[in-house]
Amino acid sequence: MKKIISLILCLVLVCAISGCGEAKPVLKVYNAGEYIDTSLLSAFEKENGCKVVYETFDSNESMYTKVMSGEQYDIIIPSDYMIERLLKEGYLQEIDKAKLTNYDGIIPTLLSQPFDEENKYTVPYFWGSVGILYDKTVVDEEDLEAGWELLRSPKYKDDIYMYDSERDSFMIALKALGYSLNTADRDELDAAYDWLVKQRDAVNPIYVGDEVIDSMVSGNKSIAIVYSGDAAYIMSENENLRYFEPDEGTNAWIDAMVLTKDCQNTELAHKFIDFMISPQNAMKNSETVGYTSSVMSVFEELKETVYSGNSAYNPRQNGENDEFFRYQDTETKKYCAELWTKVKAQ
């Protein structure tokens, strides 16, 4: 028995040490989890004779924590407000669009957004909005006229999932009150806090994370706050559900590819970016992941074919009250986090 154990240990040790050693060029990509068709990675590796080291993160914030600690990547795919932050803190370098043969295919309305007005640093990847997913067999159509106020209607007590993130929840309250979702005004934030507390007392919502996706597929509750890309997937699994973006405005978002300062092999990195937005690859990617593609031809086609009738694949573009999240200063962030803890725990 002892011999067997020591043999296993030696084997493991030897394999662990000898596991490395290739001389191919390497590209390090850092993306959100389950946010790519992984077969594209191996296709890219084959096409360019390189190795893609692919890592995933579970939130923009944990990605930032790792990047800040000195971990180096070539390409990262974060969300708009986080790009703004990375840019501000000098983590990014410019993308040379002359090297991107497919850049013209990007949906024009996604370009020149506040986080990168001159389109120097970003190439859009997926985009969408935040909205209300509801069960049409339970929720009356006319109740939707209330907009975000629907989430406070006592009629749907114990039947609502909220998203457990201070930024998204305050977004809803601020929009319902007619304020900007990027406000740093303490009175407006306090008003939003009151809105959320009253909601909590009125309908007893459950604050959830990504498990909402599975819960809505099995129809455990009839109303939930979700991202449009997740909604598109959930609706394809549960046909009673509909997606709705209130007129008061919502959070529109874009996730985009950026090139870091640390990137040495920029040639290869540009190739990767170009690869991901080629119509054929973008089609595959969007079909697998279920989020809305940033490539015009792909978006137009999938909207009519795979996702026809699925309004969540076609989020509102340039809605007059819709806004992107902007970089939030630390003081405001702390203040919101404290209020949010109070909403949930008091």
Partner: protein, 272 residues
């Protein structure tokens, strides 16, 4: 007596690097404010003062309550199981203890997702109830659901140490107790339980330490309303980015736990 004294040295060196140095960094964060550079450190108690707000005290009490309840339930259920397992012959015991541990090798998140699909409103248990012609019961997002998940996850940490101290117990003590006229109940409490106290204490401390800082299971089975010390600290570090406050909370937590352990050990010493 002296021969093995030196054996502690490697661990002292090791823990100085991987435990003490990070601890010192945390202390530095806890007593400073953001935006400090190493050159002009200004110490402050502000981060600790913030914790005195009722909302945070609430969070702390909730964690404490949940931790103690988990410990209590695990102790009762776990002791019984460890005791029964200890009655088998030795090779069977080892297998049974291994089988208690194996479920823990399946990812905790997956196990918790499985509980969700069992307990949710349209879940498996309710489907079973409706087949039996019974009314469905809403179990998700209740204290009950959280307790099920917590106990299922932490019970092995109670069973293993208790079993360790029961397994090699000298059977002659028990026989002696019977010979002296004690009944089985007396024998159990005065002899068996007393001899197993080191294991019990170990299990209690381990489950308590783990359950007071956990939050994933309560969050998934109880909903985001379950704000506990663990998620408070995690959100300070990751989503808010306020490492100073996060460090302060975790140091408060650590100090309180150290005192709790001291107190428990005193109880143990008094018992012997």
């Amino acid at each position: 007596m002296k021969y093995f004294k030196k054996l502690v040295r490697p661990y002292i060196a090791w823990s100085a690097v991987v435990i003490i140095i990070p601890l010192i960094m945390m202390l530095l964060y806890a007593f400073t404010n953001s935006g400090n550079s190493l050159l002009n450190i200004q110490f402050t108690f502000e981060n600790f003062k913030r914790f005195a707000e009722p909302v945070y005290l609430n969070v702390f009490l909730k964690s404490l309550k949940l931790g103690l309840l988990t410990v209590a339930i695990c102790l009762v259920l776990g002791y019984a199981l460890a005791y029964i397992i200890a009655q088998f012959k030795e090779s069977t015991q080892n297998v049974l203890i291994l089988l208690v541990t194996v479920p823990m090798w399946i990812n905790m998140l997956l196990r918790t997702y499985a509980w969700i699909s069992i307990l949710s409103d349209n879940g498996l248990l309710n489907a079973l109830l409706s087949k039996l012609g019974l009314e469905p019961v809403s179990m998700m997002y209740t204290d009950f659901a959280v307790m099920i998940g917590q106990v299922c996850d932490f019970l092995p940490f109670m069973i293993i140490p208790i079993h360790t101290s029961l397994s090699k117990m000298d059977k002659s003590f028990i026989e002696a107790s019977y010979d002296l006229g004690a009944n089985p109940v007396q024998t159990f409490f005065k002899v068996v339980f007393k001899l197993s106290i080191p294991g019990v204490l170990n299990g209690v401390i381990m489950v308590f330490l783990l359950s007071i800082s956990t939050f994933v299971i309560p969050k998934l089975l109880g909903g985001g309303q379950y704000v506990l010390m663990g998620n408070l600290i995690e959100s300070q570090f990751v989503s808010v980015g306020d490492w100073n406050f996060g460090s302060a909370i975790s140091i408060i937590l650590a100090v309180i736990i150290l005192f709790a352990i001291r107190w428990m050990k005193k109880v143990d010493a008094a018992d012997n």
